[in-house]
Subunit: 121 residues, 2 copies
């Protein structure tokens, strides 16, 4: 069984915001030995989510974790992500695909904010 992470951002018209997702994915690759790590964007950038899911399948993943790189995922985003998951699960029933929670109010977020506090830009 081969596991994949599809790291999903909203997508932006600004290339530098989209590039952040690739850096985050690279950091995950270093920590997830033997995992497939792909990226996708909900809108405004490519690869799309269906394409990202397909790529995971093409690379041999049998279990795919859709991991939202979103501070929060309100009903709109959550519905969209669930829609992509369900559609893919129907099309590729031999693969397991699950949706993970967004970054949200993880306790480490407080540590990140405290770290940013003394750094004026």
């Amino acid at each position: 069984m081969s596991s994949a992470v599809l790291l999903i951002a909203h997508g932006s018209r600004r290339p530098e915001a989209n590039a952040d997702l690739n850096i985050a994915a690279e950091r995950l690759r270093k920590r997830l030995d033997g995992w497939i790590v792909e990226t996708a964007y909900l809108e405004l950038a490519e690869p799309t989510i269906p394409r990202g899911l397909e790529r995971c399948g093409e690379r041999g993943a049998t279990r795919i974790h859709m991991l939202p790189y979103f501070l929060s995922a309100g009903s709109h985003v959550a519905d969209d992500l669930r829609g992509f998951r369900d559609e893919f699960a129907q099309r590729r029933p031999e693969l397991q695909v699950q949706l993970c929670p967004p970054i949200g109010l993880h306790p480490l977020m407080t540590e990140i904010l405290l770290d940013r506090l003394p750094e004026a830009i």
Copy 2:
């Protein structure tokens, strides 16, 4: 000298996304003993950034840190935030006001993503 944090989110039409900022602020309050901690939204919710800055001043802050609760702050957001900072600095020259970096690619973000990975929703 009294220090303040103005924690700033984008703002959403969804009350639950806006409520996250209050929870994040409450967590900062517990860690920043003696600091003033206020919240503000760039758009779609209140208090606005100018109002949040004023509140910090009214509560006796002499130094205000504008802390963006944004994954990234592209040129548009950064320009807006700098604009609010500069306008307030001109209006209240007796107060120090500075802008901190967004959450961005902080190393702890990888730990948060790895933590979210096994949690299907």
